[in-house]
C-alpha cells in the first residue's frame, strides 16, 4: 500500500511544480496542466488507493501462523518413544538397537485463520511432520455471541483440541519440554476430536468449556469414518484464574468400543482431571512457574487388551472365560513441573510424570523425570535440549520385573512464525 501512496504524493508534489514551470516558461508544443486535470488525476489515484485498500482489508482477514520442529533424538537401546511411528496407546513405536539416534521433523505446522466478520471465524490447521504426510490437524468454525461486547461466548463445531485439563490445549510451540506427559499421550492420543464445543468467559476469573465429541480421538483407527458408539462423549471444564495462579477441574464421560470378531464390546470411559499453575518472579532470574495436573478414571488399557483379547489368524477374539468388563481398568496419572526463566534468553525445566494404567495391578507403571534447557536464539527460534530418565516396569519372566534401558536425549530446533 505504501508505494501507490508514495507515487500519489510524488505526483502531487511534482505536478504543481511542473505547472508553475510551464507558467513561467511554456515549453514549445506542450499544453499547460490545468487544475481540473490535476484534480482528475488525484481522484483517479484516490479511487485506485480505495480499491487497493479494500483488497488489502480482505487479505488482512487471513492470518497465517505455524512452526517447524526439527529434532534429533538419541536413546538407549530399549527406548520406547511414543512418537516414532505415529503414536498409539496399544502399539507404541519402538527404537531398535540399530536405530537409537535419528534426525526427523517432529512437527511442521501451518495454521490459516480467516476472520470473516466480528462474529465468526474459521481455522484450518495442517501438520506435515513425523511421517511426511500432510494431515488435517484442526478444522473448525466458531460463532461468537453478538450480545456481549467482548463476545464472551464462542460456539465451535469441527475438529479441535479436547477441552480437558491444561496440557492438551497448550500449543507444542510454547511447551517447555518436547512432549506432553505420558498420561495425556495415552488418554488423549492426538489431543483432538470432532464435535461441538461451547467456551464461555463468565467473569475475568471464571471460564467454562463444555463439548460433545465423537469420542474416539484423531488417532483412533475408525476416526475418519464414523462414531462407532453412536452416543456422544461429554467433556466439561471449569477454570478459575486469579492473577498469579490458575486452577481447573475437568470431567469426561463416554463410551469406548473395542472391535472384536463378532459383537464389539463397549465399556464406560470416565476421566476426572485437576490442574493448577502458580507463577512467581525470582530476583535476577525472572519469571518461573510451578504446575501440576492429575488424571484418574476408568478406561480400556493396553495391558488388559493384550490379556483378554487374542488376535490369532487375523481374528480378534475374547480369550475364553475372560470377562469383557475387565477390558477397562481404573487408571491414575499426572505430573508436576517447574519452569524457571534465566533472563530473557534461557529457561530451565524439570518435570516428573507418572502413568499407572491399572491402579489395581503392580509393576505396570511408567515414571519419567525430564529435565531440559531452552535457549532462545531470537524472538522466533529456540533450541531445546532435554533428557528423559524413564522407568518402565516390564515383565521379565517368572514373576520378576525389569526397567528397560530407554532413557532419551532430545535436541530440537524450533522456529515459530
Amino acid at each position: 500500500m505504501r508505494l501507490p501512496r508514495a507515487l500519489a504524493l510524488a505526483a502531487l508534489l511534482a505536478l504543481p511544480a511542473q505547472a508553475r514551470a510551464q507558467e513561467a516558461v511554456p515549453a514549445e508544443g506542450s499544453t499547460p496542466v490545468t487544475k481540473e486535470e490535476v484534480h482528475a488525476l488525484l481522484e483517479g489515484f484516490t479511487e485506485q488507493i480505495s480499491t487497493m485498500q479494500t483488497d488489502l482489508d480482505k487479505l488482512k482477514k487471513f492470518k497465517f501462523s505455524g512452526y517447524v520442529q526439527a529434532r534429533s533424538e538419541v536413546g538407549e537401546a530399549s527406548s520406547d518413544s511414543v512418537r516414532v511411528t505415529g503414536s498409539s496407546a496399544t502399539s507404541p513405536g519402538t527404537f531398535t538397537s540399530p536405530n537409537v539416534s535419528r534426525f526427523f521433523i517432529r512437527r511442521a505446522r501451518l495454521k490459516l485463520t480467516y476472520d470473516s466478520s466480528p462474529l465468526s471465524r474459521a481455522v484450518v490447521y495442517f501438520d506435515g511432520g513425523s511421517d511426511r504426510t500432510i494431515r488435517l490437524l484442526e478444522g473448525y468454525v466458531t460463532l461468537l455471541d453478538p450480545w456481549t461486547p467482548l463476545h464472551d461466548h464462542a460456539l465451535t463445531m469441527g475438529q479441535f483440541n479436547v477441552p480437558f485439563g491444561w496440557e492438551i490445549e497448550r500449543s507444542s510451540s510454547v511447551r517447555e519440554l518436547p512432549e506432553r506427559s505420558r498420561a495425556e499421550n495415552v488418554l488423549f492420543s492426538g489431543e483432538r476430536d470432532r464435535g461441538l464445543k461451547l467456551d464461555s468467559q463468565w467473569t475475568p476469573q471464571l471460564s467454562t468449556s463444555f463439548a460433545l465429541l465423537n469420542g474416539g480421538g484423531v488417532n483412533s483407527a475408525d476416526f475418519a469414518a464414523t462414531d462407532p458408539t453412536r452416543g456422544k462423549d461429554f467433556v466439561g471444564r471449569v477454570r478459575w484464574s486469579q492473577g498469579p495462579w490458575d486452577a481447573a477441574v475437568s470431567y469426561y464421560a463416554g463410551r469406548q468400543t473395542t472391535p472384536l470378531t463378532g459383537p464389539d464390546v463397549e465399556t464406560d470411559k470416565t476421566r476426572i482431571g485437576f490442574d493448577a499453575q502458580a507463577y512467581y518472579t525470582a530476583p535476577r532470574l525472572g519469571g518461573g512457574s510451578l504446575r501440576a495436573e492429575v488424571y484418574s478414571g476408568h478406561d480400556v488399557n493396553a495391558d488388559s487388551l493384550k490379556a483378554i483379547v487374542t488376535g490369532a489368524s487375523g481374528a480378534r477374539l475374547l480369550v475364553p472365560g475372560r470377562d469383557p468388563a475387565h477390558l477397562a481398568t481404573d487408571f491414575r496419572g499426572g505430573y508436576v513441573m517447574w519452569v524457571q526463566n534465566a533472563g530473557d534468553r534461557a529457561q530451565l525445566v524439570a518435570r516428573y510424570d507418572v502413568w499407572d494404567p491399572n491402579a489395581d495391578a503392580d509393576h505396570d507403571q511408567y515414571r519419567r523425570l525430564g529435565v531440559g534447557v531452552n535457549a532462545f536464539y531470537d524472538g522466533f527460534t529456540r533450541l531445546t535440549v532435554s533428557y528423559d530418565a524413564i522407568t518402565t516396569e516390564a515383565p521379565a519372566g517368572a514373576g520378576s520385573y525389569r526397567d528397560p534401558k530407554d532413557n532419551l536425549w532430545t535436541f530440537q530446533l524450533q522456529h515459530k512464525f
Partner: protein, 278 residues
C-alpha cells in the same frame, strides 16, 4: 615478528576489546504506540544527552505491535496507549512466566478532531458512539450542517483504537465505512482537509484541526482536554500512557524508566503536548 611473540599481544587486544564491549552500555529498545512515538523519541534524545554512552532506540508501529515485540523478545520496553489485554498477558506468561509489569508514564486525553470550519459546538460521548457505529450519519443530526459525516480512525493494532473502542463504543464494532489510517498524524491530516470529517487521537496531535469539547451526557458541561481536566478526570476520555516490561525493570532499562518518571522526564511530557503524571 614470530607467532609466539604475536600471541600475547593479540590476546591482550582481544581482551581489551571484550572488556570495552562489556563496558559499553547495551542499547535500550523501545517499541509500540504511535501516539507515544514522538514522546518516546524526545525522552530518548534528552536521556542520551544526560547519559553519555547509553543508546535508546525508539520505534512505533502501534501498541499491539509493541506488545507483540515484548512477547517475542525483540524490545526491552513496550510503549502502549492502552492496557494489555488478557490474551496478550497469557502469551507473555507462556513465554516468560510473567504477566508483565505496567508503569504509567504520562496521561493523555483522547481528542475528537473535526475540520476547522465545522460548526458543531460540542458532542456527548453517546453522540460520538452513534457517529462511529454508523447510527448517526449526517452532521445535522448532532447540530451541524447538512452533510454526510466521514469517519477517520486508527488501525486495529493501535492502542488508541482499542481505548476508543472500549471507552466510547463500549466494545461494539465500528461502522464499516470508517477509514482506518496508519497513525494519528494521518488522521489529523485527513480531517484537516475534509470539512465533513471526524477523527480521534492523542491531544498532542491536535494541530490544524478543531478539537470538539466533550460532554459525559446531555446534562454535562462541555470539556476540552487540558492538564486540569485530564488530571481531575472531568475530561471523559482521559487515559494513562504506559511502559510495559516483561518483568520488573533492571539495569539500563530501569535507569531509563526511572529517568522518565523524574521531573526532568515529566517536563518533556508537557512539552510534547501530553500531561505529566503529577
Amino acid at each position: 615478528m614470530n607467532r609466539t611473540a604475536r600471541l600475547p599481544s593479540t590476546l591482550a587486544a582481544l581482551l581489551a576489546l571484550a572488556l570495552a564491549t562489556a563496558a559499553a552500555a547495551k542499547p535500550v529498545s523501545v517499541k509500540g504506540s504511535d501516539t507515544m512515538v514522538i514522546l518516546g523519541q524526545r525522552w530518548a534524545e534528552a536521556y542520551m544527552n544526560t547519559t553519555p554512552g547509553q543508546v535508546v532506540m525508539v520505534t512505533g508501529g502501534g501498541s499491539g505491535t509493541g506488545i507483540a515485540a515484548l512477547i517475542n523478545g525483540t524490545t526491552d520496553i513496550c510503549q502502549a496507549s492502552r492496557a494489555m489485554r488478557p490474551d496478550e498477558k497469557l502469551k507473555l506468561r507462556d513465554r516468560y512466566q510473567t504477566m508483565g509489569v505496567e508503569t504509567p508514564v504520562a496521561r493523555d486525553g483522547v481528542t475528537i478532531y473535526v475540520h476547522g470550519s465545522n460548526p458543531v459546538p460540542s458532542l456527548t460521548i453517546a453522540q460520538v458512539r452513534d457517529i462511529y457505529m454508523g447510527r448517526v450519519t449526517n452532521w445535522k443530526q448532532v447540530g451541524g450542517r447538512d452533510a454526510t459525516i466521514l469517519l477517520y480512525g486508527r488501525e486495529n493494532s493501535s492502542g488508541t483504537y482499542g481505548f476508543f473502542k472500549e471507552m466510547v463504543l463500549a466494545n461494539r464494532d465500528f461502522a464499516d465505512r470508517l477509514q482506518a489510517l496508519p497513525g494519528t498524524s494521518a488522521v489529523v491530516n485527513a480531517v484537516s482537509k475534509d470539512p465533513n470529517g471526524i477523527g480521534y487521537g492523542g491531544a498532542a496531535y491536535a494541530k490544524g484541526v478543531k478539537e470538539v469539547p466533550l460532554k459525559k451526557d446531555d446534562g454535562g458541561a462541555p470539556v476540552l482536554p487540558s492538564l486540569a481536566s485530564v488530571s481531575d478526570g472531568s475530561y471523559p476520555l482521559s487515559r494513562y500512557l504506559f511502559f510495559y516490561t516483561r518483568q520488573k525493570p533492571a539495569g539500563d532499562v530501569k535507569k531509563f524508566v526511572d529517568w522518565v518518571l523524574t521531573p526532568e522526564g515529566q517536563k518533556i511530557v508537557g512539552a510534547v503536548g501530553y500531561y505529566p503524571l503529577k
